[in-house]
């Protein structure tokens, strides 16, 4: 996975600052980012993503308010040692579930059919 893949943005999928927040939480949920780890500076991440530095700063402010990251003066921005890893995992799982449900509901299938398809694909992926 390249560095940019972890941060994929979709200009059609709502405000960029929200998406950056979601990407950080996803990486934390997956273990691609761990508590105590340093995040790129707002300027560096903005340059990587070709977005306005203020937008990244806005995303970081929100993550700080959510207790996910902290800014240490002169040192940079870090994932908090007590970051809610389990909470972000749940949040990320719920979001994935919502996407699955939205897609399958549009097909007009029942929950049982959707779940059985999910299990099938899940098990196929295990082998």
């Amino acid at each position: 996975m390249t560095n940019t893949d972890r941060w994929t943005l979709d200009m059609d999928a709502g405000p960029i600052y929200v998406q950056i927040g979601v990407r950080v939480k996803e990486q934390l949920a997956r273990g691609d980012l761990v508590p105590g780890e340093k995040l790129p500076s707002a300027r560096d991440l903005a340059a990587l993503l070709s977005v306005n530095p203020n937008t990244v700063a806005h995303a970081y402010e929100r993550l700080e308010a959510d207790g996910v990251i902290e800014t240490k003066r002169g040192l940079g921005t870090f994932i908090r040692e007590d970051a809610p890893v389990a909470g972000t995992k749940k949040e990320t799982l719920d979001a994935a579930a919502r996407r699955f449900v939205n897609d399958t509901r549009r097909l007009g299938v029942s929950l049982e059919e959707a779940v059985s398809a999910l299990k099938e694909v899940w098990n196929a992926g295990q082998s």
Binding site: L9, M11, D12, A13, G14, P15, I16, Y17, R43, A46, A47, L48, L49, S50, V51, N52, P53, N54, T55
Partner: protein, 226 residues
């Protein structure tokens, strides 16, 4: 306001440039000036730069007439006016001679970052020349940068390098007006977008506000032009 237009109209002999524009640009805003060819983007930037005089209305830049502020603002035009014999070193001498606010050290750094070869411009690709011209412009210390189509007609890698340099070099108290039709590539950079259509502003909006409504700037662009 760093720059403002009050009921500004610019008519050309054969066509309308811009019609009755009233706009303000505060300090610290990155603005995308978007629209098709002939929509008035260049005319708008040139009016602010003092390179065109309005037929009607008033333009103010740093509280003065644009002509008086010309040495204080940066204008990067579509025309590639580099002399063929020029090397980046010559460009540096030229800029140092003309502009008091030119920072030669910053220029050298930008040549590195933008990967500009140290040969004569005659032997450079279009993208390399575009990157050199941007390095020259961004090496000046100004509060107002007017960049007219810096991404037009150059390769993808050059466009990416230019965008990431803009992100790195921009200070939060500086205002950039950048015109482009590469909307999708550049839209993340803009806080505010002006969509021009037939000499008027068809939409003046915050980019994140549009996205909050589920639209990309590209979507808004399509809607306005449809």
């Amino acid at each position: 306001m760093l720059a403002s237009l009050d009921h500004v109209t610019k008519r050309y002999v054969k066509a309308d440039g811009v019609l009755d524009l009233t706009l303000g640009f505060p300090a610290g805003e990155v603005v995308g000036v978007l629209g098709l060819n002939g929509s008035g983007k260049s005319t708008l930037l040139k009016l602010i730069a003092g390179l065109l005089t309005p037929t009607d209305g008033t333009v103010r830049v740093f509280g003065e007439r644009p002509r008086q502020s010309r040495s204080k603002l940066v204008f990067l035009g579509e025309q590639d006016a580099l002399w063929n014999w020029m090397t980046p070193k010559d460009a540096e001498k030229f800029m140092t001679g003309v502009y008091e606010d030119f920072d030669a050290k910053r220029f050298q750094e930008l040549l590195e970052v933008l990967d500009v070869p140290r040969r004569k411009t005659k032997a450079m690709s279009k993208g390399e020349r575009g990157r050199l011209r941007l390095a020259m412009s961004l090496s000046r210390d100004s509060k107002l940068y007017l960049l007219d189509e810096p991404l037009a007609g150059i390769d993808l890698i050059s466009r990416e390098k230019i965008l990431s340099s803009l992100v790195r070099e921009w200070h939060t108290d500086e205002t950039i007006l950048l015109s482009t039709h590469e909307v999708a590539e550049a839209e993340g950079l803009f806080e505010r977008v002006l969509l021009m259509k037939a000499g008027r502003v068809a939409l003046d909006a915050k980019a994140e506000g549009l996205r909050d409504e589920g639209k990309s700037v590209v979507d808004a662009f399509r809607e306005v032009l449809a």
